[in-house]
């Protein structure tokens, strides 16, 4: 498959009266690419997905799927396969009948339906459950049926609406790796809605960060993490210390050696030691909180100006420092990342 654009959102917008749910959004998803729509609830990500599926009519803009304008096409004629947050399995149909539903609607001959359903059942490890009704399945099994039902029709684009939010933490991680593997192997163009930044980082080719109906940044997980475009992206993806630097000092008087303007400093870039703070990019404070996370230790340093500086370091931090004691934070010039002027 060539790296052509499979799905194009061209100035797509949706307004409800005077409120804007999605504001003129431009997004291109390449063939075989998985793009996450990430943002807090109410940011317009689900509205965008439902416009692509054809359940919500756009107020403005166009949707192109494999070069064809589908903006006004009814939902059932669009070639999309959606996995719903609630799974929305048909409760009166068996696992096999649920998966076969879309193939039957497309008039696929019976022997081929049986063959394709069997292949999907094997791919998703649902063997032996074909005759069960959805209510006789565990949550994880139901989720896999929902995925199978959407993938078996070979849709031009797969739409995932928070597909992991109803699974417990342990199952969630395994399932998302499994889904990513399937998506890569089958080369499925995928639009994936989530509010969980870790989930988006883990399996996406690119992330579209949305806030209040607007697309704040579009980039690979590393790009949005290391080069956030806005203050919102910096604080929503991972954790961030934010300074406004002017004439070598932050707004609360910390000497900074780095670019001017709004700067982002990631907690894991900060180191702690006992030596006195001298020169720029160093500041002394009091340890407010130390929490051991298993993979490391998170610390909160209270600075004289009142700011709480977030620090992430090795597990040994918990041995070298104690709550209420002094510590000095340091970082390098390159760790200060300037946000584009807002």
């Amino acid at each position: 498959m060539t790296n052509s654009a499979d799905l194009v959102l061209d100035g797509l917008a949706r307004r409800y009266g005077s409120t804007t749910a999605v504001a003129r959004m431009d997004l291109t998803v390449a063939a075989g690419e998985l793009v996450a729509l990430l943002g807090p609830s109410g940011c317009g990500k689900t509205t965008t997905l439902r416009m692509v599926a054809g359940f919500i009519e756009p107020s403005e803009g166009r949707i192109l799927l494999r070069g064809k304008d589908i903006t006004t096409m009814p939902a059932h004629q669009r070639d999309t396969g959606m996995v719903f947050q609630s799974y929305a399995l048909f409760p009166h149909l068996s696992v096999a009948e649920n998966i076969a539903f879309g193939l039957k609607r497309r008039g696929v001959p019976k022997p081929e339906i049986a063959q394709r359903v069997a292949r999907m059942v094997a791919l998703l490890q649902l063997q032996g459950l074909e005759a069960r009704l959805p209510k006789q399945l565990s949550g994880g099994q139901q989720q896999r049926v929902a995925v199978g039902r959407a993938l078996v029709i070979n849709p031009a684009v797969v739409l995932l609406d928070e597909p992991f939010s109803n699974l417990d933490a342990l199952l969630r991680e395994g399932t998302r790796i499994e889904l990513r593997r399937l998506q890569t192997e089958l080369g499925l163009t995928t639009l994936f809605v989530t509010h969980d930044q870790a989930e988006a980082m883990a399996i996406s080719d690119r992330i579209a960060v949305m806030n209040k109906g607007r697309l704040e940044q579009l980039g690979t997980p590393r790009e949005v993490y290391e080069r956030p475009a806005t203050r919102f992206v910096a604080s929503f993806i991972g954790r961030a210390n934010i300074f406004v630097s002017r004439d070598g000092r932050s707004e609360d008087g910390i000497p900074l050696d780095g670019p001017e303007g709004t700067l982002v400093l990631r907690p894991e870039r900060v180191t702690l030691d006992e030596a006195p703070a001298e020169g720029p990019n160093a500041v002394a404070g009091t340890v407010d909180l130390l929490s051991f996370l298993g993979t490391g230790t998170q610390a909160v340093l209270r600075l004289p100006g009142g700011r709480q500086l977030l620090v992430e370091g090795p597990a040994s931090l918990a041995d070298r420092f104690h709550t209420g004691g002094p510590a000095t934070a340091r970082w390098m010039r390159d760790d200060l990342v300037a946000l584009p002027a807002e």
């Binding site: 059932h76 959606m82 719903f84 609630s86 409760p91 539903f101 029709i153």
Partner: protein, 261 residues
């Protein structure tokens, strides 16, 4: 869990049996009395005879009444189902100002005694210059209770159904009409059957409104029975009642077999 063989288990069994006797005893009395060889209602029955059944089946009033009741109940069931389900869909799928109040209003006729409704409706229709004929009048009156009954059954059924399943069907290539017939309707079917059965049985068994509002010519079976019980009170009444009990029993068994299928 308490074993049924323990002393408590035997107490529970005994209570269940007493419960059944209390609930079904009156029916057994009627059925037993219908086989009595006497010319009046007697319990325990004296002798055994099927002649009251012959008399009941030979009496055209009962048979006519039965078919009037059947026609009435069928119309009430179908109309209640359509109106009640439409209202339930509106109340569950769309949030609009006053929807909670409307739901309470819709259900209110259920708590009124049928006699109060009957009197009110009689006054209403007698003051109405374009009052419809007896049967239509009775159907409209029964809908006052039939619609809330359907609503009562369908509201929780609709609230339990995931509204996304219809979208899922459309996403997989079913037109809105197909999605309704392939997914929504089959999922709602057990609820619809239960709701229609309730409305049917209510209308079939109803006496007060039928007495006040029905026409003499098209008297439903309940009205005929009521009249007979007042006039002669012979075992024919018991025989007709027994036949109705048998019919109800068959319907219940059929419904259970459908539900367990």
């Amino acid at each position: 869990m308490t074993s049924l063989r323990s002393p408590l288990g035997w107490v529970l069994r005994g209570m269940a049996v007493l419960g059944f006797i209390y609930l079904l005893g009156p029916l057994l009395v009627i059925v037993a009395a219908s086989f009595s060889d006497t010319g009046y209602l007697a319990f325990p029955p004296q002798g055994f005879s099927l002649r009251w059944y012959h008399a009941a089946l030979a009496d055209a009033r009962y048979l006519t009444g039965f078919f009037v009741s059947l026609r009435l109940a069928a119309m009430v069931a179908v109309l209640s189902l359509i109106i009640g389900t439409a209202a339930a869909v509106a109340l569950t799928r769309f949030a609009f100002p006053g929807s909670v109040l409307l739901e309470a209003l819709f259900l209110s006729p259920l708590v009124l005694p049928a006699l109060v409704l009957a009197v009110a409706l009689t006054l209403f229709f007698s003051a109405n210059p374009i009052a419809p004929p007896g049967m239509t009048r009775l159907v409209i009156s029964h809908l006052l209770v039939g619609v809330p009954m359907v609503l009562r059954v369908m509201l929780p059924v609709l609230r339990r159904v995931d509204p996304a399943i219809e979208e899922a069907a459309r996403n997989l290539g079913a037109s809105p009409t197909k999605a309704f017939f392939l997914v929504t309707l089959p999922v709602l079917r057990p609820g619809l059957i239960a709701a229609a059965a309730l409305a049917f049985i209510f209308s079939f068994d109803e006496v007060e409104m039928a007495l006040f509002l029905g026409s003499v010519r098209d008297a439903p079976l309940t009205v005929v029975l009521y009249g007979a019980a007042q006039m002669q009170m012979d075992p024919t009444v018991a025989a007709v009642s027994s036949l109705l009990i048998l019919l109800a029993l068959l319907l219940m068994v059929a419904q259970q077999m459908y539900a367990n299928r």
